[in-house]
């Protein structure tokens, strides 16, 4: 297929359609609304289900219901809307049905603003709904990656009977880039052994539930989820590296913060600084092993995020104090410019911090001194 200029949000919507999305339930919120707007036209065109629900709570529970029938189903929202969906996500996780959720993140907490942010990393990766459940989280950094990962998210969700979230910030949702769409795939309803899609009088009835009144049964469920998660950790880690081979300073950044860092890395390389970039594509499962390897090579890490240091904790866990980890973030809906990250690279290149410095504290001190 030839490349076309696609806006991130619309590209995700079309990619989902081509991956066989049969049902979409959502509620408008900036900077995600184009996903819903696009599908409100496209889905009925194809005879597929589109519902603008009465709220995000309604939408996520419609997703839950449709997911139980084994069809490809999705919702999308932005930060405050995703918060509203958390109860439903936990039920979906507890019922072990596949579902895809797009979060086009904006500045928070609270109503915040509609500018690009990455402040829902912890909600997506570590928590969100109640209970003990893993979920796959993908973080595209370009429109092409948003398309590819949308398609992948349906496969992963089905393969592991798990929620697969895409977290991107408003910049990628609103940006246009040349991108190639996959071929339109016909809807292929798989015959999942668990799907409650009607017995037609031909088979025994199936039960999908997240209720396990006997704690021992719930314990087994928790262990089953964790065992499945181990498979995800083994097989599904994805990341992209730039200028990493001889890098002495390794930047770790996802999504827009990662691609902004790429610009800074290029400039720093021109100035002779041996710096590279590791851009996690799966932030859950996190590329722990790769970071472990890089710890043997790098003399310092720099984590860049559009929040106050959420992925930072995961990098620190992987690096485990063996080399210094530094942090640079712009929270609240501010997108860093490359020169800000370049300044950090230069600072670390000339005067490396000690491993004992708390990265977030040191960053906060620098940030508040500027203001």
């Amino acid at each position: 297929m030839p490349k076309e200029l696609w806006k991130g949000n619309e590209a995700i919507a079309e990619a989902a359609v081509r991956a066989g999305l049969e049902a979409y339930f959502g509620y408008p919120i900036t900077p995600q609304t184009e996903v819903l707007e696009y599908l409100s036209r496209r889905m009925p065109e194809l005879g597929r289900a589109f519902v603008q629900a009465e709220s995000e709570l309604g939408a996520v529970n419609m997703v839950y219901g449709a997911a139980c029938t084994g069809v490809r189903v999705m919702s999308s929202s932005s930060s405050p809307g995703v918060s509203l969906m958390m109860e439903g996500l936990s039920y979906i996780a507890g019922t072990e049905v596949p579902a895809v959720l797009i979060n086009v993140m904006r500045g928070g907490p609270g109503l915040g603003n509609i500018a690009p942010a990455q402040s829902d990393y912890n909600q997506a990766v570590h928590g969100g709904g109640h209970g003990d459940y893993p979920r796959i989280v993908l973080a595209p950094a370009s429109v092409q990656e948003a398309i590819d990962l949308t398609v992948l998210s349906f496969d992963l969700a089905e393969k592991y009977r798990m929620i697969c979230m895409l977290i991107l910030d408003g910049a990628i949702g609103q940006m246009m880039e040349p991108a190639e769409m996959p071929e339109m795939k016909p809807v292929n309803r798989k015959d999942f052994g668990w799907a409650t899609n009607g017995t037609m009088g031909k088979r025994d009835r199936r039960l999908l539930t997240s209720i396990y009144l006997n704690p021992l049964d719930e314990e087994q469920t928790n262990l089953r989820l964790l065992t499945r998660w181990k498979q995800v950790q083994t097989h599904e880690v994805r990341y992209k590296e730039y200028f990493i081979d001889d890098a002495e300073i390794v930047i770790v950044g996802f999504g827009t913060a990662g691609r902004v860092a790429l610009s800074a890395v290029r400039t720093a390389r021109e100035q002779g600084i041996k710096v590279g970039l590791l851009r996690p594509i799966t932030v859950s499962p996190f590329p722990i092993e790769r970071l472990d390897q890089l710890t043997g090579q790098a003399r310092a890490f720099l984590v860049t995020e559009m929040n106050t240091g959420q992925m930072l904790d995961d990098v620190q866990l992987a690096v485990h104090g063996r080399v210094p980890v530094e942090f640079y973030g712009r929270p609240g809906g501010v997108v860093p410019f490359p020169d800000e990250i370049l300044n950090e690279i230069k600072r670390i290149a000339s005067a490396p911090a000690t491993a004992h410095t708390d990265a977030r504290d040191a960053w906060l001190t620098r940030m508040t001194a500027q203001a």
Partner: protein, 186 residues
């Protein structure tokens, strides 16, 4: 090669579409490109801008603090981007809507009476294409022909009859800018 361009003006002046046409032209000539709009409340308040990055490698940041190239279609955009332009950069200014000359002398400011030229062609809405033509005089990576082809390929069918006038707007803007460049001491 990487070039960053900011296009700014009032909503309705064709700021976002102008940027898209440039992005299409860059894409169709085999380059990587990003186009990102301002989508915040300021869009509803009247001013709009978009940033286009053109490169022959995978583009990092889609946003730029100090662009080498910018188009200012109105006075607030002139005042804002004149101060933000990278030293040595070029600012295309819609002379029809500003009331004072440039303040910086370390950048090139090309004044183009976009409204008047567009009205001469017969459609004041073409002013964004006049400015685009002028921009191309400072952006050798994208030719007038590339933009013409992009317009032809991507203008909605119902607007196809406007192509000749769009081409003329591009040409007039380009030629006007060329004359301004001739006045710049070598």
């Amino acid at each position: 090669m990487q070039k960053e361009i900011i296009i700014a003006g009032f909503g309705g002046q064709g700021v976002l579409f102008g940027g898209q046409v440039l992005a299409y032209a860059a894409m169709d000539s085999g380059k990587d490109v990003t186009w990102i709009p301002s989508y915040g409340p300021e869009m509803r308040g009247g001013t709009a801008n978009c940033t286009v990055v053109i490169a022959d490698h995978e583009i990092g940041s889609p946003l730029v603090k100090n662009p080498p190239l910018a188009i200012a279609l109105n006075l607030p955009s002139f005042d804002k981007y004149e101060s933000m332009l990278a030293p040595g950069g070029t600012l295309i200014v819609n002379q029809s809507m500003v009331d004072h000359p440039q303040r910086r002398n370390d950048i090139h400011v090309i004044m183009v009476p976009c409204n008047e030229i567009a009205e001469e062609i017969g459609d004041k809405k073409l002013m964004n294409m006049v400015a685009m033509g002028a921009l191309l005089s400072a952006l050798p990576e994208v030719s007038v022909k590339d933009v013409e082809k992009a317009l032809e390929a991507h203008l909605p069918a119902r607007h196809k009859h406007l192509l000749p006038k769009n081409y003329e707007a591009l040409k007039r803007g380009y030629e006007h800018a060329q004359k301004e460049w001739d006045k710049v001491p070598a």
